[in-house]
């Protein structure tokens, strides 16, 4: 009996310690970024484009990277969602879920999830060369869509799968087709989870540097069309951290802080939206 009590205590302590370690890691990252970047944060930074000597420590801001990241992140998330939602629905038990090749699709998505994003960047770059395109917002969106798609599709599939068979059957039993059941019942019930999946993919996309390095490029200007190159916050962090000037390095942390704030802002907004949308969800 004493051994069992000790075992209970030991594993409980392990769980609490692991949770504390995870939370501390997160808090430490936020603290370091805030402390190191706060000094460089200013209104100029989020409202102005970089001037000529910005990367040598002179005046200007990172509006180009903020707008660029938002365009890349939102564009890629929208494109990925357009592809991921039908895939996730098709992988449900009601459609292809019980066929052998549905497992093959799942396995492919898992493999794609594990591929490093630089490979997507290189792949996107090869396609762009073949099509005669140069680094552009469009190229960046395509590469980031490839990064986000497997994450979003797999997360959505899991969320949709959690909608109970009985709830689906309640819809079928009044004469609904599979699509009607999916649209009106399954998606509605899973909406909060689907939004979380979209957010997860957005967070992954907006923070990715490797895939946009070759495909979106970097510029001090705002893009005027999909074919213009575009800056992004992760690359702004990367380039500024690589300089020998301490004030520029500090700005890198400020850029990281802005990236974090953007993800947090989108997260909070989507949680509020989720709460509103899940009013009718069956608990």
């Amino acid at each position: 009996m004493r051994l069992r009590c000790a075992e209970e205590l030991l594993f409980r302590a392990l769980m609490v310690l692991s949770t504390i370690a995870v939370l501390s890691g997160l808090l430490l990252i936020i603290a370091v970024i805030t402390v190191k970047g706060a000094g460089a944060l200013s209104l100029d930074m989020i409202t102005r484009l970089p001037t000529g000597g910005y990367y040598l420590g002179k005046e200007g801001g990172l509006l180009n990277a903020i707008v660029g990241s938002l365009l890349l992140g939102l564009g890629a998330t929208a494109c990925a969602a357009l592809l991921a939602i039908p895939v996730a629905l098709y992988l449900q038990h009601d459609y292809a879920g019980r066929r052998r090749w549905a497992n093959l699709v799942r396995m492919s998505l898992d493999l794609l999830w594990g591929i490093p994003s630089i490979v997507y960047g290189a792949f996107g770059f090869t396609i762009m060369l073949y099509l005669g395109l140069r680094a552009s917002l469009l190229g960046g969106i395509i590469a980031l869509t490839l990064v986000e798609l497997p994450i979003m599709a797999r997360a959505m599939e899991e969320v949709l799968r959690m909608v109970s068979v009985e709830l689906r059957e309640a819809s079928y039993s009044v004469g609904a087709t599979r699509w009607e059941t999916m649209r009106a019942v399954v998606v509605r019930q899973a909406l909060p989870g689907l939004l979380t999946a979209i957010l997860l993919a957005f967070g992954r996309g907006i923070g990715d540097a490797a895939s946009v390095l070759f495909t979106a490029g970097y510029t001090d200007h705002l893009p005027r069309s999909l074919l213009d190159p575009v800056a992004s916050l992760p690359l702004a962090v990367f380039f500024q951290l690589g300089t020998p000037f301490p004030e520029v390095q500090q700005r890198a942390y400020a850029a990281a802080f802005l990236l974090l704030a953007l993800v947090l802002l989108v997260s909070v907004c989507s949680r509020l939206l989720t709460r509103r949308l899940s009013r009718h969800a069956v608990k």
Binding site: H93, D94, R98, S164, V165, E166, L167, R168, E169, A170, S171, Y172, S173, V174, G175, A176, T177, E180, A184, V185, R188, Q189, R279, H280, A281, V282, K283
Partner: protein
């Protein structure tokens, strides 16, 4: 001839028999109670009647189920219109993730009722038939999940009635309800049987005795006995039925 006729129905899950050569006619506009011990095939039998059995994996169905003379397992059978005819009330109330009003209007909307006035009429009529109108008429736009379990089950009944079915298939519909809610659902069945054929799967013998006009006794996938309730309960012909009714097997 009654409008639900089962001929030689057999079901196998993963090769294991769940129903074996069941043949019977379900009397119209009566309550038919399907009784038997756990795992005897009651729910499988019910799921065959509206082809919800199709949603399960590794199932093989053979035999025929005739609804209004047409075999529902025929290759060209229209499953959607079949399910519309055969309303379902499951063990645990399954309200849809929408408002009380939309739960009832869900089926009619699917089947083409668009005018607001028509939908309002259907919602009111079905909520009244399921004795829920008085309790919810002032909060029709509230989420259905806010109702008590008993109210949710009556809402599910209203949703089923809204598509004007011919029969109601009820799978232990009072199993998750408190005694008062169960009583009110039972009362509804008695009221509704003049208009609908009700097939009630139950493991509560006393409930079957209270409600049933006709009884079907299944044992290990086999149809052991069926007949008018009074005869089956008072004078069972098969030894297994007698033992089940006496509580020797359960």
């Amino acid at each position: 001839m009654s409008h639900i006729v089962v001929e030689g129905l057999s079901v196998r899950y993963n090769g294991q028999p769940a129903l074996d050569n069941v043949s019977l006619e379900i009397p119209d506009r009566q309550i038919t109670a399907v009784i038997g011990p756990s795992g005897c095939g009651k729910t499988t039998f019910l799921r065959c009647l509206n082809r919800l059995i199709d949603t399960m994996d590794q199932v093989r169905v053979s035999g025929r189920v005739l609804i209004d003379g047409a075999d529902i397992f025929a290759p060209r059978a229209n499953v959607i219109s079949l399910r519309r005819k055969m309303g379902l009330l499951s063990q645990k109330p399954q309200v849809l993730p929408m408002s009380i009003y939309d739960n009832v209007a869900y089926g009619p909307r699917l089947h083409g009722v668009r005018r607001r006035r028509d939908l309002d009429g259907i919602v009111q009529r079905c909520l009244k038939m399921s004795s829920l109108w008085e309790e919810v008429h002032h909060r029709l736009r509230a989420p259905a999940t806010g109702l008590s379990v008993g109210q949710q089950q009556r809402l599910c009944l209203a949703r089923g009635l809204a598509v004007e079915p011919e029969a109601l298939l009820c799978d232990e519909p009072t199993a998750s309800l408190d005694p008062l809610s169960a009583q009110s659902v039972e009362r509804l069945f008695v009221e509704l049987k003049s208009r609908y054929t009700i097939v009630l799967v139950t493991h509560i013998l006393r409930q079957a005795k209270r409600l049933a006009d006709y009884v079907v006794f299944l044992y290990m996938g086999e149809l052991v006995e069926h007949g008018p309730a009074e005869r089956v309960f008072n004078n069972p012909r098969d030894e297994r039925t007698r033992k089940y009714l006496e509580g020797v097997i359960s």
